[in-house]
Symmetry: C2
Subunit: 328 residues, 2 copies
């Protein structure tokens, strides 16, 4: 099943089920007005949503169905109660540390790194993304995220998989030139991690077929900048911690409420021929190769698009395609 949230109808959007080919969608206000409302009662409502999705699959002209327009999509959860982002592709962390001459602690291979993100302003797949200053070092981070139901404190990795109810894609915009000063203060990211953008569609794990195994997505994540290919690392390769392990880490001392979003961190492969999912990684490789980064950070007017395609070429989550703009 694929779901999305259309803009309008309130701050949390209007829940729709979406046809697999992303051409048509069906509002389902009689089942749940919003995706958060559906997640609050997922075990009861998901089968009813799936029945509507199957009906839409069978007959695109189903009464009530409308054309699916990504420009009308908010993030699947336009605001969420919890957004925690991992850094599960540890080779990326290792590389960035190497570039600044810092040893990465060996524990990073066994103890996941996560940060708590702001979740009151999650951007849609075609929303403009405002920044106050190009000098902040505007960067993309292409990632995968899962959305959970309620997860108890102390949930083990072995017990975590059934709590993964939906998957989607994320552009975790980062302000690279604000990061060193902020991390030096010791309390982690805040100003350097502004509002995050989301793919138009979230999907249940079964939509991925064999590509969803070991709680990883075994498909390339495609990024483009201003239409030019930027990266296509395989999200199933070099993922040191799978989503079940990330959930176990984040529930060690707390529970997660329904609708919690857990991100993978920047997808990155040791095979550098696959490109990167953020400019920071590309610039680090340039630094290591030539002594200095060549590729600039993003400028106002630049566009970043992110998508993932199945083995048969289907666009699974729809395409994020956001423009960087000057903030008010």
């Amino acid at each position: 099943m694929k779901v999305a949230s259309l803009k309008g109808g309130g701050r949390d959007g209007r829940l729709v089920v979406v046809r697999r080919d992303l051409t048509r969608c069906l509002p389902v206000p009689g089942i749940a007005p919003t995706l958060q409302a559906a997640l609050d009662n997922w075990s009861t409502l998901a089968p009813r949503l799936a029945e509507r999705a199957a009906a839409l699959e069978a007959s695109p002209a189903l009464p009530g169905a409308i054309a699916f327009d990504i420009a009308q999509c908010a993030a699947p959860l336009p605001r969420a109660f919890h957004w925690v982002d991992g850094s599960a592709y540890v080779n990326h962390v290792e590389l960035v540390r190497k570039a600044r001459g810092a040893e990465m602690p060996a524990s990073f291979w066994t103890d996941p790194l996560v940060y708590q993100g702001g979740s009151d302003d999650l951007l849609g797949a075609r929303d403009d993304v405002p920044f106050g200053d190009e000098a902040w070092g505007i960067d993309l981070e292409a990632e995968i995220a899962v959305i959970t139901d309620d997860v108890a404190m102390g949930t083990t990795a072995a017990a975590a998989a059934p709590h993964i109810k939906l998957l989607t894609l994320v552009n975790d915009w980062s302000l690279r030139n604000l990061i060193p000063g902020e991390l030096a203060k010791g309390f982690g990211f805040y100003q350097s991690k502004p509002a995050t953008a989301f793919a138009p569609v979230a999907v249940t794990p079964d939509e991925l077929g064999d590509a969803w195994r070991d709680c990883k997505v075994h498909l390339p994540l495609l990024s483009r900048i201003n239409g030019a290919d930027f990266g296509r690392p395989d999200a199933g390769t070099d993922m040191t911690f799978n989503f079940a392990q990330l959930i176990a880490h984040v529930t060690r001392t707390r529970r997660l409420g329904a609708g919690a979003i857990v991100g993978s961190g920047t997808v990155s492969n040791y095979d550098r021929s696959r490109g990167a999912s953020c400019l920071a990684e590309k610039r680090t490789l340039e630094l290591l190769e030539s002594g200095k980064p060549q590729t600039p950070f993003l400028k106002f007017g630049d566009r970043v698009s992110i998508e993932m395609r199945s083995a048969d070429g289907q666009n699974i989550f729809g395409t994020l395609d956001n423009q960087v703009v000057r903030g008010a």
Copy 2:
């Protein structure tokens, strides 16, 4: 006006207005079912809520009014979309750093320190607070927090004050023995900052009268552990950054959505005779005085209570009184 959220009726509780003396309350489902719903449309709904609060003040036996029972209270926002906590009492940061022989950067006096907290599981004033292990170093942090409406990116401190719609008290439980390892990883707190507890009642700034000035609360914050006085620092003294300055800091690169919670950090005075708002500060003073901390962290079964009283002795927010218990 004072508001609270009674448990039941869904994950976000049932909004009530509360009498100033905390004896009676009035459900207001015809105005807004939840506090979040009220905050989503505050400029329209707050006057209607205030009218009901005034009616309850005038006649405690108003039809529909019921006894106000703090044990039935969830947090004012049982879950929120944004919870960011400052560290505005910089003397506390300076002291803790001194104890570990670390110089505090001078910029800490001009650039606020904040961390992003988890907001999907905010605890009520009488809820048990579960932890997996006493060895984690369970500590209280008594604080003040404000709740905002929508705040645009780039809001200045001069323009921030009108966005402060409500104030409340917070116990920002901290796991001291998990902090060093987590902060050493560089991404800030996550496991070391579990679910936060809130006072039963949130109040509009006018409820504080003259005690609310310069976007600070000029009253002592009272903490007790197992019934024994622990601290009574004045929240208006030694607050280096007021709430307007904290809001300006957090909106530098992002907007805040209605219902965002911004905390002060542990309230702390240079005048150590007033006690502390967390065990870490007390233990640090013991370390500096005698070479070693004397006061242990909290144990299962310990109770922590926090409240604030007006100059004439009125309990403004109701009392947090949470028991530390062994987690599942």
